[in-house]
Assembly symmetry: C2
Homo-oligomer: 373 residues x 2
């Protein structure tokens, strides 16, 4: 099977996303984008035994420093970031080092932020190994770490020089991680690509069975959607990029409220999208039939879309208010307007938001059954 390329059109910061099998072993996918004589590969304890050796072999002509982080979201803090700086300064790595993130979204976020800050910015390459990272987090330049009081509160916009998405890595991805990635794939269909949404409805079984052609298609189509939106609004200063946050204000509150790492990011975003759809339907902004299609596709992908335990409604509402989408004291929400369309909304009635949050945070078997039916 051939590889494909998606161009991220950001002027002086333009780069390519490469998608295909076997790319991690291919020196030519990396070396032309390596700045100097040193490379620092940042990865984690799950990914290192599977893929680190093939990457270091491809980079054999360089001095390679490796930093293996503990797996999971808990390391995504300023302290975890400092572990990467320790490794860079132990070497020591100079300002012409190139940092390569080999792993999922957590590794990409930490390594990318380290690249943004080390000596005020060094070269950076993303080598995502999870579906979520390949379709979303490795593209677009968002990097950062969590703070105890909020997710991704500390970070930078910092674009990679290249994204190398080796589809072979998805074969080893645990089922739960794979489903979490599908949450972001489905998101593109909801906010911007009705045709893709329909394709996903019709092909979700092939996707879940890891059919190679289906996987390559959803990664490429997701990256094309993301590239188009990011090119319009790189720094999320206009409205376009904010649409990518569908489900994320709800989702971040779930992740922070339950403790970072309890849920996978994509799982929280899936439930967040279900909540956004529920609120939009309550407000009369979304047809009940479309809400059902959104929730139905998420559920078919194996994602949680119903009420959950462990977080009181008031706590969830409070956590939503420290989200990055707050402007002039008001949380702006992304709400679906149909299949393939969404809006930034800040004039939602507070009582309807509270009722929606109450529906999802008060765990009741009956409600849960009704919601996922």
């Amino acid at each position: 099977m051939n590889s494909s390329t998606v161009n991220i059109d950001l002027g002086a910061r333009a780069y390519q996303v490469r998608i295909g099998p076997g790319l991690l072993s291919a020196a030519e996918e990396f070396l032309p984008w390596v700045e100097g004589a040193q490379v620092c590969v940042v990865t984690d304890e799950t990914v290192a035994p599977l893929y680190l050796e093939r990457v270091t072999a491809a980079l054999a002509s360089k001095q390679v420093v490796t930093k293996i982080l503990p797996a999971g979201e808990a390391i995504k803090t300023l302290d975890g970031l400092n572990h990467v700086f320790d490794a860079l300064l132990d070497a020591p790595c100079a300002r012409d080092v190139t940092i390569i993130a080999l792993g999922g979204g957590v590794v990409g976020d930490i390594a990318g932020f380290a690249a943004a800050c080390y000596q005020r910015g060094v070269a950076f390459i993303q080598a995502p190994t999870t579906l979520l990272a390949q379709v979303d987090s490795s593209v677009g330049g968002k990097t950062g770490v969590n703070h105890a009081r909020g997710k991704n509160m500390i970070g930078a916009f910092y674009q990679p020089r290249r994204v190398v998405a080796d589809t072979d890595t998805l074969a080893t991805l645990p089922r739960r991680q794979f489903a979490a990635g599908l949450a972001e794939v489905i998101k593109y269909g909801v906010i911007a690509d009705a045709e893709f949404f329909v394709w996903l409805e019709e092909n979700i079984d092939a996707v879940s069975a890891h059919d190679a052609a289906a996987l390559a298609f959803i990664i490429e189509r997701s990256c094309i959607n993301k590239a188009r939106i990011v090119a319009q609004d790189e720094l999320e200063s206009a409205g376009a990029r904010a649409l990518l946050n569908l489900g994320h204000t709800f989702g971040h509150a779930i992740e922070t409220g339950l403790g970072h790492g309890a849920w996978l990011h994509g799982e929280a975003v899936a439930t967040g999208m279900a909540m956004a759809a529920a609120l939009a339907a309550r407000m009369g902004r979304l047809l009940a039939a479309d809400e059902s299609r959104i929730v139905g596709l998420l559920a078919a992908a194996g994602l949680p879309v119903g009420p959950f335990a462990g977080l009181a409604a008031d706590d969830m509402l409070r956590l939503m208010r420290v989200d990055k989408k707050v402007r002039d004291g008001r949380v702006r929400l992304i709400l679906p307007a149909g299949i393939g369309a969404a809006d930034i909304v800040d004039d939602y009635p507070a009582d309807l938001l509270a009722a929606t949050v109450a529906d999802f945070t008060v765990a009741s078997t009956a409600t849960a059954a009704a919601k996922t039916a």
Copy 2:
């Protein structure tokens, strides 16, 4: 006395440096550059009792959050940075908050880096209260913190929206801090402005006596020099901006080797400039007469220019090798070529560098007397 304005010409990131008495009390110097309804003033325990109240009074129409850091370089770490994030998230401050740095170089570096990273970047205003910050660190967008293994190793290029330099603040500045600021003032004369260097030689007594007109002149002239250089090379990717690092590779090694905070930054840079001049003279790149003028002006400003105790030559050479100016394993040094001219040099003989470092790190009263004569 009137205020003056220096334009920093950085295209979409252009801004003005305002210089003059009484500016900290003037709401119109701040409010047009405040983004939203919230302001976070970051300052330290020395500056807060002197100037915080007049700034918060000027900002009375906004919700003002204040964060008072311990004074001194020791707080300039990732941990210190996290104290600022704690304050921002306790409030909580939204993405439209404007961070104001009220203080010297340490406060500006931490607050600016916090602004660069909080929610991936918020609005930022510099209100420098030391001579060093007014003539150097508040202008040009360098922000960051130290790592145990090196100074300013973690940071970002992040431009303020405005610099408000109130010259009244210099009246309360301790003599040692004032002299440290003069090190950077003299640096502009050495690397780029021979006429200014001569003016400083002739007027150093008026400057040291805090003559108001002399102070206003050196701040404006320093900012004009810095603005011109930064506009040529914002990200220090070409050669121009690197010249601003005259004395800094030596100086950072001194600061790290003796422990951050033992010497003031400007003191270490002054000795570093004397070392750079000594090496340049040894290499035949600088006339002995010009070396004497450089060392003489620094000494007349009350700055250390001779051998110092507490750091072995080998340790100093090792510390210099982790400097940010390393390219392809070689430390690039800025060496003066005369009065008003300097070069980036990486082909200096290792033995001449070692001999220069040995001269300055082996404390001997006889040598010290000879050097400062």
